[in-house]
Structure formats: structure tokens, C-alpha cells
Symmetry: C2
Subunit: 344 residues, 2 copies
Amino acid sequence: MANRRASITDLAKALGLSPSTISRALSNHDDVSEATKVRVRQLADELHYQPNQLAAALRRGRSNTLGVLVPHITGHFFPQVVHGIATEAAKQGFNVMICQSNEDTRQEQKNIDLLMNSQVEGILVSLANSTHDFSHFEAVRQQNIPLVFFDREVEDFQGSNVSSVLFDDYHGAYQAVTHLIEQGCVRIAHFRGPLHLNIHKNRLQGYRDALTDHHLPIDEALIVLCEMTPKGGGQAMRQLLKLSRRPDAVFSANDLAAVGAMQVAKAHRLRVPTDIAFIGFSNELFTTFTEPMLSSVDQRCDQMGKTAVQLLQKMLKGGPNRVGPPKPIVLKPKLLVRESSQRK
Amino acid sequence: MANRRASITDLAKALGLSPSTISRALSNHDDVSEATKVRVRQLADELHYQPNQLAAALRRGRSNTLGVLVPHITGHFFPQVVHGIATEAAKQGFNVMICQSNEDTRQEQKNIDLLMNSQVEGILVSLANSTHDFSHFEAVRQQNIPLVFFDREVEDFQGSNVSSVLFDDYHGAYQAVTHLIEQGCVRIAHFRGPLHLNIHKNRLQGYRDALTDHHLPIDEALIVLCEMTPKGGGQAMRQLLKLSRRPDAVFSANDLAAVGAMQVAKAHRLRVPTDIAFIGFSNELFTTFTEPMLSSVDQRCDQMGKTAVQLLQKMLKGGPNRVGPPKPIVLKPKLLVRESSQRK
DNA sequence: ATGAAAGCGCTAACAT
DNA sequence: ATGTTAGCGCTTTCAT
């Protein structure tokens, strides 16, 4: 049978004190005598007293909870970011409520509502792919609840309590391709994803600019739209191998496709990296399990989560007298050179 | 400026009605006139009224929130399970609060406390590796808060509102080892984890029984306690290779250790699977990227999350007149045979 | 150093 | 069909 939980009132009655004193004692308030504190704590322990956060939050007007809204918690990236968020939030004393939009705008709206109703003190969002209408974020802005977009951002959505944490995809791609050039590669192919996503647009642009800046021609036949899976990468690779002049390197917009391509290349008796070098993107766990190990651009996903929470925290503390929103934070990528691209 | 949010009281005053009527209208209660409902909804929309869940939860004594406690949200397994949980919980109209223990018992205790304080209606837990002392779950049991252990369970922790969703590790291991025997392996090693975790105990027992049932001797020297990482697996492998009679197969309690071991074996010029075969456990994404591809036992992780929530839901609905706790649910494994164990 | 009292926003039993 | 009242458990101002 569910014993009703001991409340402050219960403690008060049992000790012949007032609820206010109990409350103060439990929160270690200065002007409660040490003796009383001891008595209170002891009884609280004995009765397994559990403070009711709901009540405290309601009274204080502060829920101590952050809301997180991600497209989903699968794959590599989002779990990692969520991990970073949860860890940092815990460190700062916040609870975390997590919702998934399943890449669906309607669910995103519903979840934003839900988070607001739950009186979260701030919201961290990565947009659903399909989201073009941003009216549901209006409410957040109006209530002046701090809002941080990460990875996927709403463009032109300004506000004094709105900011973002992004990843410099352009620079990551640029670094990767430059490294390939330095290794002596001259026909570098690129596997790209759909360009309505900024990440793919930027990675492609980084690729182009790196080539141009190093006086290499851009051959559109070497830029292949492919599904970002091992299978997709494999198909793209086969397509490239049919060219009269095959590429001597592949920079893929993700690791999965790179691995698939590498497998196909090896099946065609090409030596990696001597005949053809590979670089992926995201530094997935498995990149060190392939043979040769796959070079990749590391995104520091947990760093992104951590940074996002810190940014939010800054807004919460900033108060109303802060001038303007905190600047968006752009995380720098790091190229990890492994065997698949190391020719020298 | 943070406009104070409109409350029910505000709506009541503005419309010249009582708060109770507003409350009833908003929750579409039967005995409010349609006309009133319309008026109320309209004004609510206009003022962007957001119900305060905190207050409602406090009043109702029901928070509409489930607590989730996992060792971490990284790797393959836990994100997948959490995804299953979050999805199913959303479907059932629950919010989800997520905590990580970081495999640390003290944090686990703190998080359980936190969840209880947050008045969650039920808790889903996968234990930290290091947890030997279960006193923190006593409180949960005493408060009669439904508790579901998944994947990692506390043995001998019974209660009318305690249950679990497990994976049939024994059977998975048994299948894996039987398969190795059928491939002609006769000296099969096992990498095991710490045995206070049932998953490892059961995997070990499945290993033993499969050998015995097929009339193979059990050589304790072939059973190695190792850290479940590539590095740990590598070390264990080196240890095995020093034996006068090395093993001709390894069944590892997880994929990471298997991969590490496989790399070491290959570095020693052993051919996989001809000289030595490998099977891992969990069917991580990267198992298809290794060379040769790693055979593994698939756990259907998202199914586990979904099932766990459904079980919890059953307890919540069951009420106090239910007889005994719901039976633990055991999910069946599936052996995926890939190159690393396929000799014929 | 402690107590009395009010109220956070909501709901539900009990009126009318 | 609507209103009155009380209270969920806690914190905090204002006494004393």
C-alpha cells in the first residue's frame, strides 16, 4: 500500500515546529539553530522524506527543468548531443525533459507546447527536417523563454533570448580536401547529400573552394549525390569506377557512405590509400574498426550539447538587462587523419 | 519583457466566470454549455493561455511523467532503447525525464532521488555496472512507484510493482556457441564481463551449457574476464594467444571486445574465421564494417524500450487489487551469422 | 531563532 | 450549468 509520503507538514507536527522552520532547516538556512537542523534532518532521514519538487517549483515559479527537442534519438549524432546536454544539465543542477519530433513539424509544435506547459526554464531544439513554418517558436519568444537551436537552425529568427550552436561544416570539408591535396591527390571525388540541408550545402562548398584555392579543376562528374548509407556509398563508388579516369580520392559527406565505397574499392583490388584515399565525416565509432581505419572530420557532438546548455545558462543568468542575444557559437571541426588518407 | 502568462484566474476575471468553469471548459467537461466553452477557448487562444502542468500535477497528485535512468546515452544500445521508450511514452501521453548514472552507483542513487522528488509516476531503470547495493530502490518500492528494470536487473528484488524486461542472454549465448561448434570449433574461448550483472552471468552459463551439451570439455583458462572495450578485448586475446593450445574461436559478451580481439588475432597472422572464429553480442552498427564482418547476437533494443513502457503502463493501470507483479518479459535473441564465424 | 499567514495555479467535492 | 471552497506541498514575507 502506498504510504503517503512524508511532507514538511508531517515533519513539523512530529517535531512540534512550524513548517517554515522545517523548510528553512532542510535548505540549510542561516537563521535556524544547529540543534534544530540536526533534529529535522534526522527525522527526515528516518521517515524517508522526499521533497516535492512540483510544489517547490510551483511556489518558486522555477521548474529547474530544461526542455530538449530533437528529431530522434537514433544514429550517432543526436544521442551523442543529448548525452552532452544531459551531462552538462545535470552538472548545472537541471533536470532534462526530452521529446522527439520524428522529423515531423506537427509533432514539433505539439512538443514545444508540452515543454512550455511543463514550465521548462529553457528549450534546446534541433529542427525537424520538414519544418518551414516557425510560428510555434513565436510563443517561446513571446514568453521570453531562452531558446537555443543546435545543429539545425531557423534562419532569420532573432530574439533577445534566442541563440544557436552550429558546426562549421564548410571549414571541416575544406580541411579534409586540403589534406587530400597535400597527400598528392588530384582527382578528388565528393559524395554529397541533399542540398536543402545546410550541412550538405556547406560541405559541398568547402570541397569546391578547397579545390579552387589549390588550383585544381572542378569536375562535376566527380560530385555524386548519394544516399548516406554504406549501400549508397557503394553504388556511388561503382559509378565512379566506370569513369575513364577514375578518382584518386573520395571525400564523403558522411562516414557510412565512405565505408561502403571503401569496401567496393577494395573489392576492385584498389589499394587504400595508395590507389585511392578516403575521408568521411562525423567520426563515427566504427571508423577505427575499418581496414584501413577511416580518416574523418570529428564534430565533437557532445561538445555541442555541452555548449548549448552553457549558452542557455548564460541567457538564464543574464537577466533582462543584458543587451541583445548571445552570439551564435560556431564549433570548429577537427580533421582526424587515419590510415585511409595517409599516403606519406 | 516576460509577460506573466495568462492563468485560469485571469480568464475567469476577463469573462466574468469562476475559475472552476474555466477549468471545466478547457478540459471539455460535459456540464459546461457549448457557448461558454467557445467563449473560453477563444479567449484562451487570444491570450496564448498555457496550462501550468506543474500546478495541475500537484493538485491531481499525478505528474504525467515517467523517469528513465540509464548508465549513459552513448553507443548503440541505450540510445536505441531510450528512443523506444520516448516514442512509446509519447504515444501513451507521458512526458519523459531522462537521467544518466554514468555507470556510477552514487549518481544512480542521486538520480533515483531526483526522479522521486519530481513525482514521476513510474521509473524505468537499467542498472549501473558498479551497482551492488540496491538500497536506493527500497524507497521506490516503499512508495509503491511502479518500477521496471530493463536489460540489467536486480536479482531477488521482488515487489508488487516491480518487474523487468530482459533479454534472453542465455539463449543468445547458447545459440552462438552451438553455431561455433557446428562450424567445427572445439576450443572456444569466452570473454565475460563482471558476473554480478545477470547479462554476463547468463551469457557465461549459455556458453557452458552449449559446450557441455555438445560433449566438449570446459577449459577455465579459456574463460577470460575482460573489460568490454576494444582494448580490453585485445588484451584478453593476447593472453589467450600465450596458451600452449590457443583457442579456435572466441565468443565475446560484447561486440567491442570482439573487434579488439579480432584485430589482435589478425595482427598475429591468424586467419579469421579459418584459424579462429569470432562472435560478438549486441549487433552493433559497426559489426558489418569490420573485416571480416562480425557475427553477432541481435537484441532488438527499441523493442525493449517499447515493451518496458507498456509493462509500466500495465502496472499503473492495474491498481492495488492486481494480484502480484506482472511477469518479467523475456525478449528472444537472434543470431546473425556473418563472415567471422562462417567456416563452411 | 521561530511562527503565522498567504499564495503559486489548478482541480474537485460539494453546493446551488 | 455555474459558483464556492478548500487544498495539493512548498516557500517566503512579515511578524515576534
